[in-house]
């Protein structure tokens, strides 16, 4: 930086200009993200019903929240869904990437096939899978028609199993994207290290386990961030696939918040559930961001 140059107008402008250009974005984020979060936080302490109202009721919404059965279901479902979704997507993405990286003929065809589900909106995915998994007209019916009478796959109608159908559809949608991230990671690995390891007589298995996969750490972290944020925000997919049902069996915090705020006219409780959702997101993201950004100086 030109620290010793005369502080004429041009130089001073060069110092201020970047901040000036950045400022609008930053201001927008402050208002439209953090401002709104604070607004929601405030609402969670009010007795808002259909529209925001500003009467203070303290912690009552939070107390009521934890008495509502659907909230318990929502949190449990999120835990089940998020852990399965993240783990399975990561595994599938990793293996697809590793296999695809083996000089496969037809990689140019396979890769778009793996990637395209991400292009579809969650509504389209949910609708297609809803049809596919319906016992009356989908896969179960087809198996019956093909002669396999005893085949059963009515998970989507089963209160215990319905959440797993959401996992299936969600994994279908995003695992290709995770694969792309790992593929990019694999192709960026320094080949010198590989050669050295192989000259030391490492087997394929050990090569991958000890050398390559650890080098993919940044990709694992990025995948984790993207997958967890999609998991927590999951609203469109659940609604399109099961409508939150059967009954409330596939409720997740996002659908709970929407339903209580907009359908059931209990905005105060909806806001409190939103605050809990945000706290969960923060609990995951903030440590990650801190670790990542601290190193990057």
């Amino acid at each position: 930086m030109a620290a010793n140059a005369p502080t004429d107008l041009r130089t001073r402008m060069q110092v201020w200009l970047p901040k000036l250009v950045l400022a609008p974005s930053f201001a927008m984020v402050l208002i439209f993200v953090y401002g709104f979060i604070l607004f929601t936080l405030y609402l969670s302490f009010t007795g808002s019903r259909m529209l925001p109202s500003y009467d203070w009721v303290g912690l009552q919404n939070y107390q009521n929240l934890f008495r509502i059965r659907e909230w318990d279901t929502a949190i449990t479902n999120l835990a089940i869904f998020a852990s399965l979704y993240i783990i399975i997507c990561t595994l599938i993405g990793l293996f697809l990437a590793i296999f695809l990286d083996q000089k496969i003929r037809g990689e140019g065809v396979l890769r778009p096939i793996f990637l395209y589900p991400m292009a579809l909106s969650f509504i389209v995915t949910g609708t297609a899978w809803k049809w596919f998994l319906d016992p009356g007209i989908g896969i179960e019916a087809t198996m019956h028609l093909w002669g396999w009478e005893s085949f059963e796959f009515d998970w989507i109608k089963d209160r215990e199993m319905a959440i797993y159908t959401v996992v299936i559809a969600a994994v279908w949608q995003t695992s290709g994207f995770v694969m792309a991230m790992f593929l990019a990671g694999l192709r960026g690995i320094d080949t010198e290290i590989l050669k050295a390891a192989q000259m030391d007589g490492a087997s394929n298995w050990n090569l991958y386990r000890r050398v390559i996969i650890p080098q993919l750490r940044p990709a694992f972290l990025s995948a984790f961030v993207i997958l967890s944020h999609l998991a927590i925000k999951s609203y469109d997919l659940v609604i399109a696939l099961t409508g939150g049902g059967p009954g409330n069996a596939t409720a997740v915090p996002a659908t709970f918040m929407y339903s209580y705020t907009f359908t059931r006219n209990q905005m105060g409780i909806g806001a409190s559930s939103a605050v809990i959702m945000l706290m969960t997101i923060a609990a995951i993201m903030v440590p990650y961001l801190y670790a990542e950004l601290r190193e990057k100086k």
């Binding site: 970047p18 401002g35 496969i104 579809l120 909106s121 792309a180 694999l186 192709r187 903030v286």
Partner: protein
């Protein structure tokens, strides 16, 4: 460079290789099946769908469902099909993606080449905005749009999408530019180039891959958005997702599944096109340092 393409290529037996091909093919099937079903059922007459199997190829091939979905399906009171809403979506998405990408690029440039105290904190704060669930912002955003008097207009919708896309575009460009040699920037500064000149002449020309990643991501997310489109557009100006929802989620009457599927594929058309055409650059762009870490 693929690991396997080196001289020190991973050696494997034929059995392993066959297994790998099988695995990949199986997954390809898994990914393609739902789409295949949608496609196949979108060219059948309705009688074949309600009467027959979903996997079977049509006995009677018809493109009528597609024509219906495009121009005569019942979306509201008028049977307009999806066509008018398609252009609404384009009118909204294109400006939003362009603006958001440019802003993201500038932000990334600033945060990596014009460091200042606290810039990491600023970046961290901006990054967190990627994670906010949209239902939370609906009501306060409506208030602000009302105050600015752009509620119910395309401009308002574009603003909303730009605001919530900035986090992502800044993330992509910032990580990309972080790997860009700073010496080139210094050299240009010494030569007397100014802030915008450096951006325009030096960074932009090498930003191809990451721009592709950013555009694909933003285009997909904004095109597929439903909530903002339904809430912040007026009836006639609504994007395609809202129209598709009206087509598919009508509460009474005969469900014309074939028209629904045709409509859904149509709605996904542009994003699919973008992914297929630019997909190769997508991986390259990711490789070039954006999301690796």
């Amino acid at each position: 460079m693929s690991i396997a393409s080196q001289d020190s290529a991973i050696r494997m037996s034929r059995a392993t290789r066959t297994f790998i091909y099988l695995f990949l093919l199986l997954f390809a099937l898994f990914y393609l099946l739902p789409f295949f079903i949608m496609l196949v059922n979108s060219v059948k007459p309705l009688s074949e769908i309600t009467g027959g199997q979903m996997i079977a190829l049509p006995e009677v091939w018809t493109i009528q469902p597609w024509l219906d979905a495009w121009s005569t399906a019942q979306i509201g009171v008028e049977p307009t099909g999806l066509r008018p809403y398609f252009w609404n979506s384009i009118r909204m998405v294109v400006p939003a993606v362009v603006i958001c990408t440019i802003i993201g690029a500038l932000n990334g440039y600033i945060l990596t080449k014009w460091r200042f105290r606290g810039d990491t904190l600023v970046f961290g704060l901006m990054l967190f905005s990627c994670f906010i669930p949209f239902q939370i912002v609906l009501i306060p955003m409506a208030r602000i749009l009302g105050i600015l008097d752009i509620a119910g207009t395309t401009a308002g919708l574009v603003l909303v999408h730009v605001v919530y896309g900035i986090g992502f575009s800044t993330l992509y460009f910032r990580n990309y530019y972080a790997a860009f040699p700073t010496e080139l920037v210094r050299a240009a500064q010494i030569d007397g180039a100014g802030f915008f000149q450096i951006f325009w002449r030096i960074l932009i020309p090498s930003s191809g891959p990451i721009t592709v990643v950013c555009v694909i991501w933003l285009f997909t997310n904004i095109w597929n958005d439903f909530l903002f489109g339904a809430s912040f557009a007026s009836g006639g100006g609504a994007p395609m997702t809202v129209a598709l929802n009206n087509l598919v989620n009508s509460s009474t009457g005969v469900r014309e599944y074939n028209v629904h599927f045709a409509g859904a594929i149509m709605a996904a058309g542009p994003t699919l096109l973008v992914y297929i055409v630019a997909g190769r650059y997508f991986v390259r762009g990711l490789m070039a340092g954006s999301v690796k870490g």
